[in-house]
């Protein structure tokens, strides 16, 4: 296609955007919000994935001792851990500390804990990490059996179990993300189709006359497709910008869950950002194509 024709069609698209500023702004705004929802979901998924992969590199266990077991049981377990080659107890959370953490975590709803039976039912927890070079899967099972044999020990959860649960959660998120992404894509398409339709309606006289003086369908359609592309580019860029700002805000402060600091927040990798941006442009163009194809019969 000749350059001056491309320039002409692009100018027509810009004129269309200017002439229907409010409609376009509403369309771009709604598209941005939809893409942002998907972007946040992507951010959550990427971070969970990173954390789970991080757990894969480390072996750890959590030992829970019943609250009524008393100090001798705790000492016996600590003794067992100390004697187990490659194991190290890195943190102990007493049932009182666990209760305080829970109270802080519950905030305004902490009164519900007042109804708990006395004594404090929360277990004492001991977090144990293993040197991966000295311990394998069989050793972990042996550790688990050994600790569980101590009377008063409630449960031993190995990192393998955590990883399994996290993977199950990731699978749920992956399916949920696909469904959510699909629904949002349909929503975005609907928005673009209707925005472009409104633009077409407002310029139907011009379209009709252009056709009467010999414009081909594509000559008339192209500016609308370009409008859809511009909508896609602007809303894609806006949503990625807001997503990045949100990431900066999130990563600037320590994120705690149940008063426990969780791992560092990572941003969505470039290839996914590019895919999100390209998806936004494609949705813009495809939406316009649907709108013009359903409208044109001059």
């Amino acid at each position: 296609m000749k350059i001056y024709l491309i320039v002409y069609l692009f100018r027509q698209a810009m004129a269309g955007l200017r002439a229907n500023r409010m409609v376009q702004l509403i369309g771009i705004g709604t598209m941005t919000v939809s893409l942002l929802i998907f972007g946040f979901f992507l951010l959550l998924f990427v971070n969970l994935n990173t954390w789970v992969r991080g757990w894969g590199d480390s072996l750890f266990a959590s030992v829970y001792i019943r609250s009524d077991a008393g100090e001798p049981v705790k000492q016996q377990v600590e003794g067992f851990i100390a004697s187990f080659e490659g194991a190290e107890c890195v943190r102990t959370v007493s049932s009182e500390e666990a209760m305080q953490i829970l109270r802080r975590a519950l905030g305004d709803q902490k009164e519900i804990l007042d109804d708990l039976p006395d004594p404090n039912p929360l277990p004492t927890a001991l977090d144990v990490i293993f040197k991966a070079t000295e311990v394998d899967g069989d050793d972990l099972l042996e550790f688990k059996r050994g600790v569980e044999a101590v009377p008063g020990v409630d449960e031993v959860v190995l990192s393998e179990d955590w990883r399994g649960r996290a993977h199950a959660l990731l699978d749920v998120l992956r399916i949920g993300g696909t469904v959510l992404g699909g629904l949002l894509a349909v929503g975005v398409l609907f928005i673009v189709v209707n925005t472009i339709k409104l633009t077409i309606y407002s310029r139907r006289e011009e379209i009709e006359i252009s056709k009467l003086v010999g414009a081909t369908d594509w000559f008339v359609k192209t500016p609308f497709l370009l409008e859809g592309l511009v909508q896609g580019v602007l809303s894609g860029a806006a949503s990625l910008g807001i997503l990045y700002l949100s990431y900066l805000l999130l990563s600037a402060r320590e994120i705690r869950w149940m008063d426990i600091p969780v791992l560092e927040v990572v941003f969505v990798p470039p290839h996914l950002l590019l895919a999100l941006f390209a998806g936004s442009m494609l949705l813009g163009v495809f939406g316009s194509l649907i709108a013009v194809s359903r409208f044109f019969d001059v």
Partner: protein, 218 residues
């Protein structure tokens, strides 16, 4: 050459044209005349391809309009100028932009568009109205803009539906002079009119229609 074979057009129960057979030669200047409702506008619209015949056929330079594809019809329309009775000017565009549109849709270069548009507007006495909007012009001036848009692309066929309906006699003759100049370049000019004075003044072929049928074609 334009050939019409047993051409009929009905809108529901209303018969607009029936069994019209005509041959319009290249470079001819033809008046379609007859009372209102005789079928003049319908005949022009059928030649333009904006209406499909109920039966019969139209050949334009050997191209059968009944079998032409949508995209080829668009291309054919670039060779046909149409002056609409209601002008069909875009109120949001200036006089210059309205006329230039006919060249823009053909993919002409910007320089060519500027030059030809200026020339055409000058030839119709609209040089000082270029930057005005249609609604700022009189009826006669709007009509001249519509004619300018139809002739700016040097069409092979020029169809005009009552092109002098809003013009005074002097301007009517001036417009006829312009259309004759277009014809002199080889364009077939077909004008629908019921202006008897004009028909008397001009000595061209006259096809008289009445109730959808050709009544007289000397």
């Amino acid at each position: 050459m334009i050939q019409l074979f047993r051409l009929s057009k009905s809108f529901g129960a209303c018969v607009a044209l029936k069994d019209v057979n005509l041959t319009l030669n290249t470079g001819e200047f033809i008046f379609l005349t007859g009372p209102s409702g005789a079928g003049k506008t319908t005949l022009l619209r059928l030649i333009f391809g904006s209406e499909k015949p109920t039966s019969g056929g139209i050949l334009i330079h050997g191209i059968n309009l009944s079998r032409i594809s949508r995209s080829n019809l668009d291309l054919l329309r670039r060779k046909i100028g149409f002056v609409f009775q209601d002008f069909k000017l875009l109120p949001g565009k200036t006089v210059f932009e309205n006329v230039a549109l006919a060249l823009e849709v053909c993919g002409e270069r910007p320089g060519v568009i500027r030059k030809k548009t200026h020339q055409t507007l000058r030839s119709l006495g609209l040089a000082d109205k270029e930057s005005m909007f249609p609604l700022e012009l009189s009826g006669g001036e709007q009509q001249r803009v519509a004619i300018a848009r139809a002739i700016v692309k040097d069409p092979l066929i020029l169809l005009a539906d009552e092109p002098t309906g809003n013009l005074d006699w002097d301007l009517t003759l001036e417009i006829m002079h312009v259309l004759r100049k277009i014809q002199a370049k080889g364009t077939t000019v077909i004008i629908a009119t019921h202006n008897r004075e004009l028909l008397e003044e001009m000595g061209h072929r006259r096809i008289r229609l009445d109730r959808g049928a050709v009544l007289d074609d000397p």
